[in-house]
């Protein structure tokens, strides 16, 4: 059994209520921080813990916080990114649904460390019922004097407001989120300036993922040193992994970083193996944007080492033979899944979600999607396969936000590892036309 340090309270009946959460030690870390620590102490602990952004990029949280412009004395903002919409990812939803007060406690501690008096939680609009759960928890925290003016008589004040998205994947990108919070279209901003200098309303701003901000609570609770001792190397602590696709036990699991991928997929404690006793074909381990890997490369690196659930191990081999931990949206494909159809599906997603600002992304996704569709439908040519690689290459790195890369990687990695399936579609249109009637499942 792996260590559970973030979601340890999740099974407690009524834990969504303030009183129950409090009775089980909730808010004691916020209390300790406000009464006994300085903002610099907290930031130091977070840096020392080695915590890395849990939204997908894996950027060290302490370092991100250190960039925040504190010298100018301007007001500062903390924005909690709860716009979870990376296909395959549903961990923040789980955390907010079951432990809303843990997130609020994390926001109090983080806001104190950053000298922030106003915090916004940007929740994707489709999660309306999650907004309801958070609203109730925030109201309770205000009533119990953990939010508002002069919290617990310490002189520290904090307001938390909820803000709904409107259904746009791009708003998970931090500068698009700030635009959206300002009541505009979610077009990412050109960086620099980074949000740490010019963020919300041009004031210094930190944007962190839900899980990152919640993880600050156990870091304070157990101490940065103990947190840094969990996990492996630079992948410290635990991570929520949302597992889905053709597995026996889809769901959200907290794993200690360093767990072998093979154990995660096949042990009863986690995914429980592939459904209907089929064989594993491929995995997209960090949300739809990260490169897909075939079974042999997700279980072992090219060097033959066991692949671990860490930022480093999953990236071992670069994009030739590796992938990324990303958001922890772990999508598993069985032997019958069609990688061509899956790639078309993802590309249709990116085409739909491109904000349209940068030509390589807007035009590139709108070009790749029909090419993939025609290959998938048995109307493709050999040259289409290289055309796709070429378009993906020209999108990657040529846009102002990482969306372009996110749209390119699924295509280039699918062709890199499953080129034979694309070729099969070109060579056998008559078989392909019959087998794909409306399902990803029917490739045999």
């Amino acid at each position: 059994m792996g260590r559970v340090i973030l979601t340890d309270k999740i099974g407690i009946p009524g834990i969504r209520d303030f009183a129950v959460y409090r009775a089980h030690g909730g808010y004691s870390n916020a209390e300790k921080v406000l009464k006994e620590m300085t903002p610099a102490d907290v930031s130091r602990e977070v840096t020392k813990s080695g915590l890395r952004g849990r939204g997908g990029a894996g950027f060290p949280t302490g370092l991100k916080w250190s960039f925040l412009d504190r010298k100018t004395g301007k007001s500062r903002y903390l924005v909690c990114n709860a716009d979870e919409s990376e296909p395959g990812t549903f961990k923040d939803r789980y955390l907010m649904e079951h432990l809303p007060h843990l997130l609020i406690e994390g926001l109090i501690i983080s806001s104190f460390a950053l000298g922030v008096k106003t915090c916004y939680i940007y929740v994707r609009g489709e999660f309306r019922y999650i907004i309801g759960i958070l609203k109730q928890a925030i109201d309770e925290a205000y009533r119990q004097k953990f939010l508002g003016e002069n919290i617990l008589g310490t002189g520290f004040s904090l307001d938390i407001f909820l803000h709904p998205g409107g259904g746009a994947y791009i708003c998970g990108e931090e500068t698009a989120m700030l635009e959206s919070l300002e009541g505009k279209r979610g077009n990412p901003r050109i960086k620099p300036p980074f949000p740490a200098y010019k963020g919300l309303y041009n004031y210094p701003t930190v944007v962190n993922n839900v899980e990152t901000l919640a993880a600050v609570v156990p870091i304070i609770g157990m101490g940065a040193d103990a947190y840094a001792r969990t996990g492996v190397g630079k992948s410290t602590g635990t991570k929520l992994i949302s597992a889905c696709g053709n597995i026996n036990n889809p769901g959200v699991y907290e794993i200690e970083l360093g767990l072998p991928v093979e154990d995660f997929i096949f042990s009863e404690e986690y995914c429980g193996g592939i459904k209907y006793g089929k064989r594993l074909k491929a995995v997209v381990p960090g949300g739809s944007s990260v490169p897909v890997l075939p079974a042999e490369l997700i279980l072992h690196t090219l060097k033959g080492e066991q692949r671990l659930m860490t930022y480093e191990s999953l990236a071992e081999g670069g994009f030739d033979s590796g992938t990324m931990l990303g958001s922890g949206g772990f999508i598993v494909y069985d032997e019958d899944a069609c990688m061509v159809r899956n790639t078309w599906n993802f590309t249709r997603f990116y085409r739909h979600e491109s904000c349209g600002q940068c030509s390589p992304c807007r035009e590139g996704t709108a070009w790749m999607e029909p090419v993939l569709r025609r290959i998938e439908q048995g109307d493709g040519k050999y040259s289409d396969i290289d055309l796709l690689v070429s378009i993906a290459d020209k999108i990657e790195g040529n846009t102002i936000c990482p969306f372009g890369d996110a749209a390119a990687w699924p295509v280039s990695s699918a062709i890199r590892h499953f080129r034979h399936e694309f070729e099969f579609h070109v060579e056998h249109p008559e078989i392909v036309k019959n087998m794909h009637h409306g399902s990803l499942i029917q490739y045999r």
Partner: protein, 190 residues
């Protein structure tokens, strides 16, 4: 120059629209969540409220009204309403069914769910039944891939869908007839 309305992107009804006194008060509170000169920040929450309380979709009349409430130009509302997929720009049925079609759901039979709904409702995606009861739409990842396939009806989640479940749900909604659908009010969420 042609304007947007002539392009048929929007529907103009030439109707007076107004929120109830209670909703107006709540919107006043939401505006206070943002700095005094940043009323525009309240646009997304107010558009959700408007769509839910003023007829299910955003007509030009409604968008212009929202613009006046937030003291911004109508175009600032139009450009936002067209960007975000949750806003409907034309009349929809009483129940808007949105089926997730992204990878993880597709892997677990999401495409069959959509096919079945088309058959049961007798409409294609993007269309509304003639009795104005149901609108069928596809959406991208709803963030519920562990309980795939998923769909939403008026933004309520329906997870681990099967064709049998769909038959039951649709039957149920049909039996409710003219009853107003019960759903959380956006106006009470902030």
């Amino acid at each position: 120059m042609k304007n947007l309305i002539d392009h048929k992107l929007f529907v103009k009804e030439n109707k007076m629209v107004e929120f109830s006194a209670d909703t107006l008060k709540r919107i006043g509170d939401i505006i206070l969540h943002y700095p005094g000169d940043k009323k525009k920040s309240a646009l997304l929450p107010v558009l959700h409220i408007a769509q839910q309380e003023l007829g299910g979709y955003l007509s030009v009349d409604i968008m212009d009204y929202v613009a006046s409430l937030l003291e911004i130009q109508p175009i600032e509302v139009y450009e936002v309403a067209t960007f975000y997929s949750m806003f409907h720009l034309e009349p929809v049925g009483k129940y808007v069914i949105e089926v997730c079609q992204t990878g993880p759901c597709a892997l677990c039979g999401g495409e069959h769910i959509l096919d079945h709904l088309k058959k049961v409702l007798g409409i294609t995606t993007g269309k509304t039944t003639t009795d104005k009861m149901f609108t069928l739409k596809t959406v991208e990842c709803l963030g519920a891939c562990g309980t795939a396939p998923v769909m939403q009806i008026n933004t309520e989640f329906y997870e681990s869908m099967t064709t049998e479940k769909i038959d039951r749900i649709i039957e149920d909604l049909k039996n409710k007839g003219n009853q107003k659908p019960s759903e959380t009010r956006w106006a009470e969420l902030f």
